[in-house]
Point group: C2
């Protein structure tokens, strides 16, 4: 199609980014080449830097460049509350509301017997450890309103009898995923959370 195997390779790789198809990947590559010093060079460099440095926080599962993420090491955040989310984009969505001042715990998915995802495949044992060691009073389950999300919520609640376990209440549509909701809806759901 074009004369440069690197360009063809770049188009093929770009087309694998969620949200870009083959056509939008071609237009993106053309744009990148035209803006090579302003956009393509910094983008390539930043991708390499992130690829080398990004890892999962040993405590909560959030992305970090060190052992612990800045949320886990931020002394200004409240210790008594842990908000449990399925994935890191849900943590980002929650942070954008500005409504939560505690810590997070990223499960890395939901329990799913069909896909053979049990508690040990997720970060659930680590959550149970944290509740004991971090002087936690409340665990807020901010999981999706899907069957697997709710199964996971009930499993966690059953295994955390020593603390209050709450869950996001109104505002989360049935079958909805957290990351697609607007900040207002998530904030309202957090405020109206109920004891599970």
């Amino acid at each position: 199609m074009d004369d440069d195997s690197d360009i063809a390779r770049l188009m093929a790789l770009m087309a694998r980014i969620p949200g870009l198809g083959p056509r939008s990947a071609r237009r993106a590559v053309l744009h990148l080449i035209k803006k090579r010093s302003q956009l393509m060079v910094p983008l390539g460099n930043t991708m390499q830097a992130v690829a080398q440095s990004a890892r999962e926080c040993l405590n909560c599962g959030n992305f970090t460049t060190g052992d612990l993420c800045t949320i886990c090491t931020d002394v200004a955040r409240q210790n008594g509350q842990i908000c449990v989310v399925e994935d890191i984009d849900d943590l980002w969505a929650m942070e954008r509301t500005g409504a939560f001042k505690g810590r997070y715990h990223v499960l890395g998915g939901t329990l799913s017997p069909i896909d053979a995802v049990g508690p040990d495949e997720l970060r659930i044992p680590r959550l149970i450890d944290r509740v004991t060691t971090e002087n936690v009073q409340e665990v807020i389950l901010a999981l999706g309103a899907t069957i697997d999300g709710q199964t996971t919520a009930h499993y966690i609640a059953d295994h955390l009898s020593a603390v209050t376990v709450t869950t996001l209440a109104q505002g989360v549509p049935v079958g909805g995923e957290l990351d697609y909701l607007d900040e207002g809806t998530i904030g309202a759901a957090l405020k109206a959370r109920r004891t599970l």
Copy 2:
């Protein structure tokens, strides 16, 4: 929002890619980090390679890694025809039809008095040179059916009296841009081209 300034920077850069907004850029970054070895590392490397090596073919304006692109140096392509396009994505669109076997000439835009784009701002003098030196019999103007595109087509036709100048005929919608058309439409328009 997240704890890593490189990740925040990557999201901001990704959001500047055409076709991705802030939300899809965040999801793309999360996907890239999860697929770091399969996708992010090769993408970062390929971007850097393309940024360093990609330049414009001295003859036709197509992207290349050397002085001349592989279309200009391909001995299997016909010398007698030059297809003139506004931009490189139009060349790609034309190549995808597989209907054209000649050479290309990328103008780099259209004449636009309002934007002070004259013939010297485009690759028009070079086109006139090529018609003389490359033994060209036909110049096919595959420009958009916009006012500026048609003004440019007429300007070029007026300055190329020694050769047949044709233009894509039926199939190009009025006001339409070539890159958005399907292969069949472009192929039909090429086949039914008329003398200008």
